[in-house]
Symmetry: C2
Subunit: 198 residues, 2 copies
């Protein structure tokens, strides 16, 4: 295989879920694309990396500091919904069932993979809860319903008990082994309404 093609296909293979066949298809797309289209792609990628940073409050991706949700006076600062990944926020926003703030962990605790609480934004969550101007009434734990997500939920519940009004876990409607940001709006809306105290 040609060296430059091989190198680009290897770079494409690092994208999540991309196999050898799809990587080749993507490379073929770029080989056919005009120079202008390719430059637009590169510029869009460069701008993405340049403009989008982590919100210093909730750690969502944002092009403002703090992000639009954290700086929205209409959002309820007494509720914090904890998610694993930034994409989970958009999925929950789409339900329209939630008007509080978020906190992105950037992963889940997974002792088997050597990922402890220090590898995710847990310390930052505790500091945020302790330094909040008004006491936090509720922390909703919306980690994925798999073993890492459950481990993380239990860890957070232990950590935050006594620090916040109540700790809840979304549950109703989300199938086990699922992935929060693949969920349809209905199921996620139900799971928010049917959350249970832990």
């Amino acid at each position: 295989m040609m060296k430059s093609l091989d190198r680009f296909v290897r770079a494409l293979r690092r994208l999540p879920g991309v196999g050898p066949r799809q990587a080749e298809r993507f490379a073929a797309y770029f080989l056919r694309a005009s120079q202008g289209e390719t430059e637009e792609f590169i510029t869009a990628l460069s701008s993405l990396k340049q403009d989008i940073k982590l919100c210093p409050v909730c750690f969502a991706y944002s092009d403002t500091e703090p992000c639009t949700i954290c700086s929205d006076p209409d959002r309820d600062p007494g509720q914090i919904c904890v998610v694993e990944d930034p994409q989970d926020i958009e999925a929950i926003e789409k339900t329209g069932a939630y008007k509080g703030l978020y906190h992105v962990l950037h992963g889940a605790i997974s002792p088997l993979d050597g990922r402890s609480a220090e590898h995710v934004k847990v310390r930052e969550l505790l500091a945020r809860v302790q330094q909040a101007k008004e006491p936090v009434r509720e922390v909703i734990i919306a980690t994925d319903p798999d073993s890492e997500g459950e481990t993380t939920a239990l860890y957070l519940a232990d950590l935050l008990r006594g620090q916040v009004g109540q700790i809840t876990r979304i549950g109703y409607g989300v199938p086990l082994g699922g992935d929060i940001d693949y969920m349809d709006e209905m199921t996620l809306g139900y799971s928010l309404k049917g959350r249970t105290k832990i």
Copy 2:
């Protein structure tokens, strides 16, 4: 949605077969990626566009002129296998059943979509056959077995009749409606061996 993210997601959506969900996953990958990884991706893409051109003989993608197959003295110049897309070559090479040369049309004739013979490299194939040092014994038409591929095969058979020893069409083993470069080696190998004269 943030402007830079939205722009990059739109650029990703132009990749073949990428839906909104996969585009968001890819964007999330790049947001998490280090600056170094992102730069490596951009460099790989830029090199791809810079180094890889069309072979002036067979119109395959190549970083040499002519390509390695066209310049290989061990390949049989008396056989030309005509394919729609550059990726088809690699699929056929993997069968190990073919030792001739190739000709890439870059598409198929599709009157319904307004793509006539001028939109693909048909004129170049005719010139190549007519200007060949030794007469071409066989042109194997390996266009996809769908309606555009069949139309193209019949068009080429008409065009080349009398200009080459014989014109064959791969057939045996390739399911109708299929896509040449998704085929397994066995099926493609059979379809090369079982080719029929048209």
